[in-house]
């Protein structure tokens, strides 16, 4: 078989199955709900019949206009972006040393160390969140230490539980492995020889990190950031369980549309906006990153 034809066959053999699977089990169902954003909610839930009694198709822009004319949804959306951004940065700070340590450790221990990172996340989500409620409870050690310190400065005690702090801590906790794993996958292939060469040329530890390791790890950083920021944007369970009265995120709003207001079209609208915005932000970040990486990174390993 000619080289070109082999390549093309390879292309379809490799991209075909995932493409097909996602088209059938993701794109098709999602399109149903995208269409739903143009329909009216059913009287008692769900959607109104597609063809009404007059024989007309039920299509309108009601839900979309509602979204764009009421500013409160934008405000909640922006708050969610802030929370998701803080979560991503905190995850990056915590995950990087961890991933680096695992990547550089002895072959025998590497797999075990990696498993140890993900092991806690095979326990149920709810009881992990409950564990945080115990840690952050008003009578637990942490709260007593913090409020004791605050009392020394004459400040009123601050609740650690049912607050934005609790929501953020839990968000970071729940998403941490999704930053560690992509970073590790990237850092693992870094060639020690490069770092040794840099050291020989007189670079200190920080310079070696900032000018060699970090730029090379950027694809891993972006992958991890995407896998943390995007899901964190749409989360609702954590604010529900340990959030304060004003910690509503866009995920909560979307859940309410399906599970309280029974307004599926509006829920679809919010979901589409969230998805497009999340992908858009990720795309912008990738573009910026690619430009930065091109200008700053040294020659390929």
């Amino acid at each position: 078989m000619g080289r070109r034809r082999a390549e093309r066959l390879g292309k379809w053999l490799v991209s075909g199955p995932p493409l097909l699977y996602l088209l059938v089990f993701f794109a098709a169902p999602t399109l149903i709900m995208v269409l739903a954003s143009f329909r009216t909610p059913g009287e008692f839930g769900g959607l109104a019949p597609f063809i009404d009694e007059a024989g007309k198709a039920d299509l309108n822009l009601e839900s979309w206009t509602r979204f764009f004319t009421e500013s409160i949804y934008l405000a909640i959306f922006l708050k969610s972006v802030v929370y998701a951004t803080i979560t991503t940065l905190a995850c990056l700070l915590l995950a990087y040393p961890l991933a680096a340590l695992i990547a550089r450790s002895d072959r025998r221990y590497r797999d075990l160390l990696l498993l140890l990172v993900i092991l806690p996340f095979w326990s149920n989500f709810l009881i992990r969140v409950y564990a945080w409620m115990i840690i952050l409870g008003p009578n637990a050690a942490l709260a007593r230490v913090v409020n004791g310190a605050l009392a020394m400065f004459g400040h009123e005690p601050v609740p650690l539980l049912f607050s934005s702090f609790a929501v953020l801590v839990c968000l970071v906790y729940v998403h941490l492995p999704f930053m560690v794993l992509p970073l590790y996958a990237n850092l693992e292939k870094h060639d020690q020889a490069l770092l040794d060469a840099a050291q020989d040329l007189g670079a200190d530890a920080w310079q070696r990190f900032w000018r060699v390791t970090f730029p090379l790890s950027l694809p891993g950083v972006y992958a991890g950031a995407a896998l943390v920021f995007i899901p964190a944007l749409g989360i609702f369970a954590i604010p529900d369980i340990l959030g304060g009265p004003e910690d509503t995120m866009i995920g909560n709003l979307i859940k309410q549309q399906f599970l309280e207001t029974r307004d599926w079209p509006f829920g679809s609208v919010l979901s589409i906006v969230l998805t497009v915005a999340a992908l858009g932000l990720a795309g912008v970040a990738a573009l910026v990153g690619r430009g930065g990486a091109r200008s700053g990174a040294p020659a390929r390993a």
Binding site: G42, G46, A75, D240, F258, L259, E260, T261, R262
Partner: protein, 356 residues
């Protein structure tokens, strides 16, 4: 290769489970809302298997059925959800000839506006949405426990700031606000809704959280001192608190302005695979002894008069579980709203939750 193996395994599993299919009753219920002994007794009687799956909110049930899910025989929705299901044509009419035990039910709970003539549903268990509190703390702070004012009035709230939670449910919270303001819990006047919203916004800074899932834990261990919650949960909280040897009690406070009553009902889904078993089950649960077992287990209210004979006497004495006649007039069941009303309520709720 791996994929092939996976598919084969899945097929084998599917075949295996469907071969089992024979005599199964699929019960879609709240978790811990039927005593295990009751289930076993029914399984012995009908020589069938009761397959239980759970939901934790009426809206979850409604959403799943609205999207077309099938395979459930008996469901246990609350009255307003029954209303939505009936209007949506999701239920099978009940064959009354197979349900002789319906005569055991207190007539006050039959023939409701939700289901005139009980064509589709029979009452199963109930709860009230009231105030739950830590008796030691409330006494210390000198707060009343028989009025919604303690949840809504800043003059009382100032003493419990950060130690109060309210339910994360627009329907329940607005209903409580309406009762406090002297209106019906099912008031639909937009002017009254604005009034209630203003009331809630004034009280919100004092509340620790809008919470329907983890507030009971915090109440039980003493981190939270006052809640807007369900009578069953508050009853359980006290059981747990005493079992843990705490120095306080968790008590139920019936607000004098009135409260919401939630009656859960047994219904049959229109595409139930085994309506015969379903009817058998419903009649079984209407028997006094079987009905009483749930109340004795979790402290739920019970509309079954025959059951009263077998319910623990100390439970019968709880006014929040078995409201006295005078109070019954102040209890209201929530009605389902129209889509326009739901949207308006959601808009107000969003403002409240967004801190505006």
């Amino acid at each position: 290769m791996k994929k092939l193996l996976q598919r084969a395994a899945a097929c084998a599993l599917l075949l295996a489970t469907s071969a089992f299919g024979a005599d199964q009753l699929h019960l879609y219920n709240w978790n811990n809302y039927i005593a295990p002994e009751t289930v076993k007794r029914f399984e012995a009687q009908c020589k069938c298997e009761v397959v239980q799956t759970y939901y934790s909110d009426n809206e979850e049930l409604l959403a799943k059925l609205a999207a077309g899910a099938k395979g459930y025989d008996v469901l246990v929705p609350t009255s307003n959800a029954v209303q939505a299901l009936i209007k949506g044509g999701q239920l099978l009419p009940l064959d009354k000839t197979k349900l002789p035990n319906t005569r055991n039910v207190d007539p006050a709970y039959l023939n409701t506006p939700f289901d005139p003539g009980n064509q589709y549903s029979v009452p199963y268990a109930m709860s009230t949405t009231i105030i739950g509190y830590n008796d030691v703390k409330m006494k210390e702070l000198g707060l009343p426990t028989d009025t919604w004012a303690v949840i809504f009035d800043p003059q009382y709230l100032a003493k419990v700031k950060g130690r109060v939670t309210v339910l994360d449910s627009a329907a329940e919270l607005f209903a409580a606000a309406f009762k406090y303001l002297g209106y019906s819990a099912n008031d639909t006047d937009p002017k009254h809704w604005d009034e209630a919203t203003a009331l809630i916004k004034k009280a919100r800074p004092y509340w620790a959280a809008f919470n329907a899932s983890s507030y009971i834990k915090e109440l039980t261990v003493g981190n939270i001192w006052l809640v807007h919650g369900y009578s069953n949960d508050i009853f359980q909280a006290n059981q747990d608190a005493q079992a843990a040897g705490r120095k306080f009690h968790i008590l139920q406070g019936l607000p004098k302005e009135g409260a919401v009553l939630a009656v859960d009902n047994m219904v049959i889904h229109k595409s139930a695979p085994r309506p015969d078993l379903a009817l058998q089950f419903i009649n079984f649960m209407l028997d006094g002894r079987n009905s009483a077992e749930l109340t004795n287990l979790i402290g739920s209210g019970n509309p079954n008069l025959e059951a009263r004979k077998v319910i623990k006497p100390e439970l019968l004495a709880y006014p929040a579980i078995f409201p006295p006649k005078e109070y019954q007039a102040k209890l209201e069941q929530l009605h389902d709203l129209t889509p326009a009303q739901r949207r308006l309520r959601n808009k107000l709720w969003t403002e409240i939750k967004a801190g505006r």
